[in-house]
Amino acid sequence: MDCERFRAELLSDPADDNPALQAHEAACGGCAAYAQRARRAEALIARALRFDVTADKAAQPAPVRKRWPRLVPVGMAAAIVAAVILGVGQGLLRPTDTMEGDVLEHWQHEPYSWVVTDQPVDSPKLRKAIAGKVVLDESQLPTITYAHSCFFRGKWVPHLVVQGKQGPVMVMLLPSEEIGKPMTVEFVEENLEGIVMPHGQGSIAIVGVEGESLQSLQQSLSRAVEWSI
């Protein structure tokens, strides 16, 4: 094997353990040094490709992060990030058997939406998130700072975040999830509480930090939301 072929094969697949490659590397000082550089590069490539998904997505809504909500421990952000990163492999994000469980699981899945900010979401993003599902009277609601169409229980649904008195509040508009009576949602470890309330043929899930005025938000949402499907 000549040096040119050695380097070509090495760069095609550095993990290749072909004995001919090993023999050439052992016999050729120049190629041994080249292989060392290639392996350093390979380690960097592997780390560079596997970027932190949560950190990247956190940059997407580009809100002004002022502070974490009151009553939420300062370490919560890191905890959420860790939960999301580790959860996929360890079952934290597995679907649950209940609507309340699925709502909380979804909350865990989009930690980057959970910020205190006074910057409203862009109108086109909001329109895209609710398109075809909801007619929304924004004037009835606190500032909407996040809007995304999310895959939830087999359907695409609008996931909003509004700014409540205590901090961000997740609102999921579920036009196809009919429920008979309100369900309470609690997530004691994260100081979260909420409700899934019936709304026409569907329902609305609201989750905020403990002490949030969910009742007034329920009333506002009842007035603001009309299903269009």
């Binding site: 550095p14 290639a38 960097l44 560079a48 597995r94 679907p95 999310c150």
Partner: protein, 172 residues
């Protein structure tokens, strides 16, 4: 089994199949598109397509290739739709690459930027091989090119990266 139970079982099955790949699907979409917002859209639409066709997945062992193929096709669809839009790709890429910078490891950040700037033909097989562990044969089938072309692209991709990063690699 009543309909609701069947639906629940189907949903659980789908989540079980997808969950291990969720982050890598987004990473793959981002490395393809170099546009974080587009990557999110591509993954969401790909998941919707996957959900609709999950019953057709006969062999759960092939779920990885199945999911990434759907993402690749969905990206191609988006690309076709956006092809006529004029935009400053280089400016967009530089700005978006900064979003995935670690900030605390300049070598990794430099490499990430170098990969970001690779042509798609070189970047894609590299992602498939290094990040997703695809074999040369699998990459060839996935990209619908011959294995020789895969090896050539991988060689050129790494050569470009090593040349660009030569100072960092020598001093490492």
């Amino acid at each position: 089994m009543p309909d609701t139970e069947a639906a629940q079982a189907g949903r659980l099955k789908f989540e079980r199949l997808v969950a291990p790949w969720r982050d890598d699907l987004y990473r793959f979409a981002l490395w393809l598109s170099r546009d974080p917002e587009l990557a999110q859209d591509v993954v969401q639409e790909a998941l919707l397509r996957a959900w609709r066709s999950v019953d057709g997945l006969r062999d759960e062992g092939s779920v990885k290739t199945w999911l990434f193929t759907i993402v690749r096709r969905e990206h191609a669809r988006h690309y076709e739709r956006k092809r006529l839009e004029t935009q400053d790709i280089d400016g967009l890429s530089a700005a978006d690459c900064a979003l995935i910078a670690t900030g605390d490891d300049t070598d990794v950040d430099d490499m990430r930027e170098a990969i970001w700037q690779l042509e798609t033909d070189y970047r894609e097989p590299l992602v498939l091989q290094v990040m997703l562990g695809f074999s040369t044969k699998e990459i060839a089938e996935f990209m619908e090119i011959n294995p020789g072309a895969v090896l050539t692209r991988l060689h050129r991709a790494r050569k470009k990266l090593i040349e660009k990063m030569s100072a960092d690699l020598v001093s490492a």
